[in-house]
């Protein structure tokens, strides 16, 4: 049963994509660590860090695609789940600083000392343990998605209204996390990380492992997403997107279907955030900004929603473009992004991968038709002739 579920996921394109990701996970760190800096094959650390960031964004886009591309829920607040996963990781990294902070307090992170707090708030308990923190990376975004989805889907909030409340959710969280007395570092967020699992965060080897983990987690989540979408559940999901009332009248509980997908997607986003934070070295409330979540929608649309590979390609391409543009013509980036979204909506509504897939299928259909035609010419006479002969 379970093996069937996983085996179904391993369709050609997914295997290739996961294989490429695993190769990248090994090759890029190897080229970074093992080649001398003046070699033509050397990948500088800053490039690897940048690529690691793109992979985290790709995982976030994949998460959004699961709810938007397959289930039709346009979430404009997925950045919130990403940021919460990031904060869970950030809290673990803060606790690892120990007495090496500016104030040298062994029990409290610097910002708490600065706020004159005497003891650790209860919600920071346990975050000094890596397994607990990793559990929270999944549980916190998952719980938020569960409660949010429970109310929204049960009350049948749909379409634009749902998009607006997801946007409101991430905005509200941003405002809350900006407050110092929330206990998450306020405006400055969490930063100045030292160790992860006893290894220096900034060390070359640690960076390489973090990069490799990003690629591996992306590959794993891709396979899980593929298993979900290729199961009967995945077909129901597309049914919900295309004809929700039909699904309901067939006897499916649409709210449960949406809730499950939303929670899985939020967990994917949480993982992406947790991998992102140690690689960029900071998490602050800016990650909750509504504009961030909207950017994820653009990546997914550019790559092709409703395909699993599309959002990954979209996230990497758009962010590579962003890195280039913000370096070369910083003032034009936002215009380029806006223009890109309009262009994709107008000319490539299926996105890059969707359009390629569509063209490929059309060509295959044409070929099959031509083949059938040929077979008919060579072998049996066309139906009309047969009918005439029979008459």
């Amino acid at each position: 049963m379970i093996s069937g579920f996983i085996l179904r996921a391993l369709e050609g394109k997914i295997v290739i994509a996961a294989g490429i990701l695993l190769a990248v996970a090994m090759l890029v760190p190897a080229l970074n660590l093992l080649t001398p800096p003046d070699s033509a094959f050397h990948i500088p650390t800053y490039v690897m860090a940048l690529m690691g960031k793109y992979l985290c964004y790709a995982l976030l886009a994949l998460a959004l695609d699961l709810v938007w591309g397959y289930c039709g829920i346009l979430s404009l607040g997925h950045g919130a789940f990403f940021a919460l996963g990031g904060y869970a990781m950030g809290m673990y990294l803060m606790r690892q600083i120990g007495s090496r902070g500016t104030y040298g307090n062994p029990d409290l992170p610097d910002f708490m000392v600065f706020l004159n707090w005497k003891e650790l708030p209860w919600f920071w308990y346990g975050f000094d343990m890596f397994p607990f923190a990793m559990l929270m990376v999944l549980v916190v975004p998952g719980l938020l998605a569960f409660f949010f989805g429970w109310f929204a889907f049960r009350s049948r909030v749909n379409g634009v209204y749902l998009s607006i409340i997801t946007q409101a959710m991430t905005y509200a969280l941003m405002l809350a996390f900006f407050r110092n007395d929330m206990g998450f570092g306020g405006n400055n967020g969490l930063t100045d990380f030292k160790d992860i699992l006893g290894f220096q965060v900034q060390a070359g080897g640690t960076r390489a492992v973090l990069f490799a983990m990003s690629a591996i987690m992306l590959a794993l989540c891709l396979i899980v997403a593929s298993a979900i979408t290729r199961s009967k559940f995945g077909k129901v999901l597309v049914g919900v997107r295309d004809a929700e009332s039909r699904v309901r009248f067939l006897g499916f509980r649409v709210e449960n279907i949406k809730l499950f997908t939303f929670v899985v997607s939020a967990m994917f986003a949480g993982i992406a955030g947790a991998l992102f934070v140690p690689q960029v070295g900071i998490i602050n409330p800016g990650e909750f900004a509504p504009a961030n979540s909207i950017e994820v929608v653009v990546w997914t649309a550019v790559g092709g929603r409703g395909t699993l590979i599309g959002p990954i390609i979209g996230a990497i391409l758009v962010n590579a473009g962003k890195s280039y543009f913000t370096g070369a013509f910083p003032e034009f980036w936002l215009f380029a992004l806006g223009g890109l979204f309009i262009a994709v909506t107008l000319f490539l509504p299926k996105g890059i991968v969707g359009t390629i897939q569509h063209g490929w299928n059309a060509r295959k259909a044409l070929k099959a038709a031509a083949e059938a035609e040929k077979g008919r010419d060579a072998g049996t006479p066309p139906v009309t002739q047969q009918v005439q002969a029979a008459e």
Binding site: F233, S245, F249, L250, R253, N256
Partner: protein, 253 residues
């Protein structure tokens, strides 16, 4: 003549004194209706007579303000939602054909199949030999075996209507509610649909809402005429169509 208590004991669907109003407009006005097991019933009436609203009430989309809606003598449908009611065995075909256009005909039927519909049951579902033969059987009933692997989006209007009927069959309902099945069909398709519905009604109850009087004559079943939210006349097509109130309200002089 039967008293209401007597008819209740053998009814599949029983509506008594059901009323619902939207913003003061009485869409259904103390409607009573009994469908017996194995019955094929046609419902006619002018636009706004409450035909679709009645289906909404039976399938749980709309809650009535007052009245009883009882399924199989004991289940109160007014307390259930769409998914519950569908699982109890009431299938519904919409006025506009509603199929999953980005799935193949086969997948449409597979989704409709009356199997466990939970999240995890569907995640780990694998097509069994039994389910496969059931889908093949339905494909031949709706005459679409040769198009099984075609995307539903590529079907003609009439074929979509049939596919939707096939999906309802896959659901194995005890009661099938069919809203205007022959709207937009050619004459040949209409005649075939009448044959199909009569065949389906051999094993379950079917309620058909239709405007096409020729089609209802083809079906040759008991007819209920609704107007302004309540029953105007009930009986054979000849009886109903000669009723002066029906002529006045619906058929026109």
């Amino acid at each position: 003549m039967n008293t209401i208590a007597e008819t209740r004991t053998k009814s599949l669907l029983y509506l008594e004194d059901v009323s619902v109003s939207f913003d003061g407009f009485k869409a259904i006005n103390s409607l009573s209706l009994v469908i017996e097991p194995g019955e094929l019933r046609a419902i006619i009436g002018p636009n706004g007579a409450g035909k679709t609203t009645m289906m909404d009430i039976i399938t749980g989309k709309t809650r009535p303000d007052t009245g009883k809606v009882i399924f199989e003598d004991e289940i109160d449908l007014t307390k259930k939602d769409e998914a519950d009611i569908a699982q109890l065995g009431i299938g519904r075909k919409f006025q506009k054909p509603t199929v999953f256009e980005s799935h193949t005909v086969w997948d449409n039927l597979e989704l409709a199949l009356n199997r466990s519909r939970g999240v995890f049951a569907t995640l780990f579902y694998t097509l069994s030999a039994e389910d496969k033969s059931r889908i093949e059987e339905i494909l031949s009933t709706i005459r679409m075996t040769h198009r099984a692997h075609e995307y539903a989006a590529n079907l003609s209007h009439g074929q979509k209507q049939w596919l939707e009927i096939g999906m309802l069959l896959a659901q194995e309902p005890k009661l099938l509610l069919v809203d205007e099945p022959v709207a937009g069909m050619t004459d040949a398709e209409t005649a075939e649909t009448a044959i199909l519905l009569r065949e389906i009604a051999k094993t379950r109850s079917v309620v058909v809402v239709e405007h096409d009087m020729g089609f209802i004559r083809d079906l040759g079943v008991k007819v209920t005429c609704l107007a302004e939210g309540s029953v105007l006349a009930e009986g054979s097509i000849d009886f109903v169509s000669s009723d002066p109130k029906v002529i006045e309200n619906y058929l026109g002089r």
